[in-house]
């Protein structure tokens, strides 16, 4: 496979980031791991945003990914990280294939609300399941990788390197996807769905593929979240969690595959300091940031890098 310049840069950054993890303080390594896991879910949100759909329920697949990982460890005694993540993604894909049949009929606000409803139904089911710890959730078992068990204290760093590698790979794939026929067709649907139909293309089929792919990517994030935090609870499917993903997606913008990663990291850093410095009003800071982005940087932080902000104003 031949790599373009952008893809080489993306992989290069991943290598640098992984190397940086070795010297960075542990809390930062953990923060970055969580941020990257979230960024994967945000990628799922962004994929749909590019097709003109805003989901207030991506937490659904985040949660499914996380719970599939946690439950496979808990009930099936599977500890292999790769297998666990695969199960998580597989579960989300199955669910998305089912829900996608219905979801692709809806657009705009109805899509947003219905996605929210499904996510909240899962939340309700989990809260009801005392075998899964109800709202308390349960702890996820320690992972292994192809027979290797990380020594105590090494797991966070090892997981960080793995998630950075996966993120790098994912970034390349998503970059390709965004320029592929399917990816461009998503943008075309956002711009003018009727025309797409009249070009002989089924918008629903494209959106369906996109929905399932976005679910898979988000579930991967959920799986990583479960493994790194070591705990899962129904909060993952709560609509506030999904709202946060939309927030980060807007923060980064949809222009480049790197944007959600950067936005997620920035968000994590800003929030952790906001919580520490102004524990009573960090939500307000987030709110004003969001408004400022919508008003001044409608295409997200990424437009700072490309100068699109000025073009958009001109």
């Amino acid at each position: 496979m031949r790599l373009s310049k952008t893809e080489l840069i993306l992989l290069g950054v991943a290598v640098l980031l992984a190397a940086g993890g070795v010297i960075a303080p542990q809390w930062l390594v953990f923060l970055l791991t969580m941020a990257l896991a979230k960024a994967m879910v945000v990628q799922g949100v962004v994929m749909q945003m590019r097709a003109g759909l805003v989901t207030f329920g991506q937490g659904l697949f985040f949660c499914v990914g996380g719970y599939a990982v946690g439950m496979s460890g808990h009930f099936l005694n599977i500890t292999d990280l790769a297998l666990l993540l695969l199960i998580g993604v597989g579960a989300a894909v199955l669910l998305a294939m089912l829900l996608g049949l219905l979801m692709t009929r809806y657009r705009e606000i109805f899509f947003a609300m219905l996605s929210l409803a499904f996510s909240m139904i899962l939340y309700g089911v989990l809260v009801k399941s005392s075998a899964l710890g109800s709202t308390d959730g349960f702890n996820v078992k320690a992972w292994t990788l192809f027979g290797w068990t990380p020594a105590s204290g090494q797991a966070p760093l090892a997981l960080f390197i793995i998630i950075v590698a996966c993120s790098g790979l994912l970034a390349v794939l998503l970059h390709r996807y965004s320029r592929s026929s399917a990816g461009m067709m998503c943008e075309a649907i956002r711009e003018n769905e009727v025309r797409v139909e009249y070009l002989g293309q089924s918008p629903r089929w494209v959106l369906y593929m996109n929905y399932v792919a976005a679910a898979a990517v988000s579930a991967l994030g959920g799986g990583f979240m479960a493994l790194s935090a070591g705990h899962i609870d129904p909060e993952m499917a709560y609509w506030i969690t999904s709202g946060e993903f939309v927030f980060i997606a807007l923060l980064g913008g949809t222009a480049h595959v790197a944007a959600p990663f950067i936005a997620a990291i920035l968000f994590a850093v800003v929030r952790t300091y906001a919580i520490e410095l102004v524990p009573h009003s960090w939500q307000m800071i987030l709110g004003f940031t969001l408004l400022a982005i919508i008003v001044f940087l409608p295409k997200g932080l990424w437009s700072l890098f490309t100068g699109q902000a000025r073009r958009a104003k001109a």
Binding site: S180, S181, A182, M184, M185, E187, N192, G200, S202, A213
Partner: protein, 256 residues
Amino acid sequence: MNCILETQGLCKEFGAVTAAKDVNVRIHKGEVVGVIGSNGAGKTTFINMVTGYLKPSRGEILFNGQSIIGRTPRAITRAGMARSFQVAQLFPQLSVLDNLLIAVSAAQSPFPSLLAPMRNASRIAQADAILAEFDISRWRDTQVTAVPQGVRKLIDIAMALIGDPQMLLLDEPTSGVSAEEKTALMDTVMRVVAQHQVTVLFVEHDMDVVRRYVSRILAFYSGEVLADGAPEAVLANARVQEFVTGGPNAHKRAAQ
């Protein structure tokens, strides 16, 4: 059999409003048919029904001898009937080239590839070729929002033509274009269309434009086909003059 499109007893009601009433039309391969009629006469409704956007209340539509009732617009497009729109239906935030590339890609396969880039040499060549045919190559890399109205109409038609349809329905190709540009625009369209050997049906208000290109005219009034035949015969029809063209020289008076 060289009949490409046939409608039998086509009817469409929107509540109390009748938009099509017993429309029986046969279009033959290679014809260039003009559709005239005042606003609300049912011209666009006719195109919308034929292309699957609206479902007729009653009646039959045959394309190449096969019923296409209940088929989706995309299925009908794939079967070989393409259309353009009264208001150009483009992807405004994308460049002209990307608009065409999307059309090329859609024409190639109903299942778009997830990882292979859309922009490849062969697709770009195809898009460039059609841009050259319509003589709009210089807009190639401009975002659609920055392109003038007339060019947008051409892009709209170019996108419809990219799939090599057998039949092309043009819904008011000159609407929204200034009077001076109309003839030039239609000349371009008809030149390209002729090269592609497509059966054409187009809706037009300007009788001069209609007379100039068509071999046959369908006149619609209040959902019905008022007259169908050679241009001179239809335009001379008394009822057509009364209800559609508003007298033999009405369009000229209006222009003054």
